[in-house]
């Protein structure tokens, strides 16, 4: 039950302030910055990618520190990895099917 991983309080606070800062950064990146097109990638796609990347960093911090994935049995991580993998497959599959069906 009680598992001591040293003092976790500093890392809780660190995660908290990181999450706050990254939230402001997401808003700033979405509302103030309009990325230019890079090669064949349109600027708005870079905007979305940046927002998504920040969200992934935030969620990883929440899961590994607040939800103790970093300290607990590594087996628990599969409860995250598997659904995330399925979600990525699902999104890509749906998008590609939709494109094939309606745009060809």
């Amino acid at each position: 039950m009680s598992h001591d991983h040293g003092n976790v309080l500093p890392s809780y606070l660190k995660v908290f302030f990181t999450l706050m800062a990254l939230t402001l950064l997401t808003v700033a990146a979405a509302k103030l910055v309009h990325f230019p097109d890079v090669a064949f990638i349109p600027g708005y796609v870079i905007n979305i990618a940046v927002g998504l990347a920040i969200a992934v960093v935030k969620v990883t911090a929440v899961m590994y520190i607040f939800m103790h994935l970093k300290f607990d049995n590594p087996m628990l991580r599969f409860f995250v990895y598997v659904p995330v993998f399925l979600f990525v497959v699902l999104s890509f599959a749906l998008n590609i099917l939709e494109k094939w069906t309606y745009h060809h």
């Binding site: 706050m20 808003v27 979405a30 905007n47 920040i54 969200a55 999104s91």
Partner: protein, 199 residues
């Protein structure tokens, strides 16, 4: 002979069984929300203008406030667990109370947001932006229900902690904490998806 019927821990993994179950539940919750996000991505790409116009009707400032509230509530939940494991009942009560208050704050902001949408006739079944607002109400609505669903056992644990010896089951609070962080985690994705990614 040692007791043969100690079922509180699975013998090999050493994970409390309630916690393991919560993780399995959260994995299924992740897939539940994945369905929304998957459909959202596809329909957004094929109805970009409608989604963009709909998203512009939302107040990202209110959503930002709510993000701060939820992150704060996640922190206080982690601190509540920390202090309960060290048998510091007073601080446990304080931080658990703050976490519940965070939930209330979130719902109050949500109430103002929803009533503004209702006044401006921005909901499914109206003429404009219908598909976007279907997603908006489904995703934020299910999320808000999750917030309410978390607050009920949290209030119960806070109430029980006023009994003799404080709240006696730290693992249960830890398990509920997992759920509460998950609610925060879902919001971290919903916030940019609905409010921000339409430049």
């Amino acid at each position: 002979m040692s007791s043969a019927l100690n079922l509180s821990h699975e013998p090999v993994t050493k994970i409390a069984s309630g916690k393991l179950t919560m993780w399995a539940f959260l994995a299924s919750e992740l897939m539940f929300f994945s369905g929304f996000f998957g459909a959202f991505i596809v329909l957004r790409n094929s109805n970009y203008e409608v989604f963009k116009a709909g998203s512009e009707q939302l107040s990202w400032v209110l959503a930002l406030v709510n993000t701060f509230i939820l992150i704060g509530s996640s922190l206080t939940m982690a601190l509540a667990i920390y202090h309960l494991e060290r048998q510091n009942t007073k601080l446990f009560r304080a931080f658990m109370g703050l976490s519940i208050l965070g939930g209330f704050g979130f719902l109050i902001v949500k109430y103002f947001e929803y009533s503004a949408k209702y006044h401006h006739h921005l909901f499914p079944g109206q003429e404009e932006h219908t598909i976007f607002f279907s997603f908006y109400f489904l995703m934020t609505g299910f999320h808000a229900m999750h917030v309410i669903g978390g607050m009920i056992p949290m209030a119960y644990m806070l109430f029980r902690s006023y009994g003799k010896g404080g709240y006696p089951y730290p693992v249960k609070v830890e398990t509920l904490g997992l759920y509460w962080h998950f609610v925060d985690l879902m919001w971290i994705f919903i916030f940019p998806a609905l409010y921000l990614i339409f430049p």
